[in-house]
């Protein structure tokens, strides 16, 4: 099944629950009408939160740049010694 089909099925199920809530009036009508809005806003907030948290925890590795420079020097030495042209960039 294509992924979009799974998502559509999920939304149909949620919509069916929402409509049945409207009809049986277990929760007051005014609240039920606003549920989709609550859902969208919550989804948006969740997304923003994930982006913010992810940004704060974004793993960085400045020491790797230093190690890489060392590797480059070692490589250039070996290659020059063995006849590979590493003079130009």
């Amino acid at each position: 099944m294509k992924h979009i089909a799974k998502i559509m099925a999920f939304f149909m199920a949620v919509t069916a629950v929402w409509i049945s809530l409207l009809q049986t009036a277990m929760i007051s009508q005014s609240h039920t009408w606003l549920l989709p809005l609550y859902f969208i806003v919550s989804l948006g907030c969740y997304g923003l939160l994930m982006v913010g948290v992810g940004l704060m925890q974004f793993p960085t590795c400045p020491q790797e740049a230093v190690l890489l420079q060392q590797d480059v020097i070692e490589a250039k030495q070996f290659l020059k010694h063995n006849g590979v042209d590493v003079g130009t960039d």
Binding site: K2, H3, I4, G47, D71, A75, G83, V84, D85
Partner: protein, 247 residues
Amino acid sequence: MLRQTPVFILQNKNRYSIIVPTYNERLNIALLVFLVFKHIPDVDFEIIIVDDGSPDGTQDIVKQLQQVYGDDRILLRARPKKLGLGTAYIHGLKHASGNFVVIMDADLSHHPKYLPHFIKKQVETGADIVTGTRYVTGGGVHGWTLMRKLTSRGANVLAHTLLWPGVSDLTGSFRLYKKSALEDIISSCVSKGYVFQMEMIVRASRKGYHIEEVPITFVDRVYGSSKLGGSEIVEYLKGLVYLLFTT
């Protein structure tokens, strides 16, 4: 200093074909080859360099490297001009004699020191695909501006919400594949650029392939050329929608 070769290498009967597409990587390709030989000396591998007619003489350097390391270990399979990443992998695959294939970038953002980690993970888990991830503990990025990190994170959250891909790094291109798995997946992928990398891993996930991840560090030396303008973002969104409907 006595170096202990780990068991997963000593008893490893696999052959690894490392495919590296290049365009104007005259210096980097030499450094890369040196580092590969430095970090997996006891592994049976070959490096397949797919050069798209680089004007800076990359192919001459490859020939010099063949003199040093042997033309059975370093294969030059060039193409006349820039023909795209996906087709570069397909071209390299045709000449791959290994039962495993590694794909990696030539510009040293992918460091060969992680190759043993990929191999070990695959041997331990029997995975079909091992993909490098920059976004978990133990991995990381260097050389990205705050803006770049923000768009990367935003893109990641969006893709995860829409696609449920099963991997943490969708656009990464440092991966180890079983050759049969790569051949199977690549035949059904049609996207270009980094959307291609996303398509590969999402299709693999949908097809039920066993995918494992290893943390990698990514040093972006090409400062300023991390192109993320409006058109790239549009391409990305179009790619997401395409993957949403076709995978």
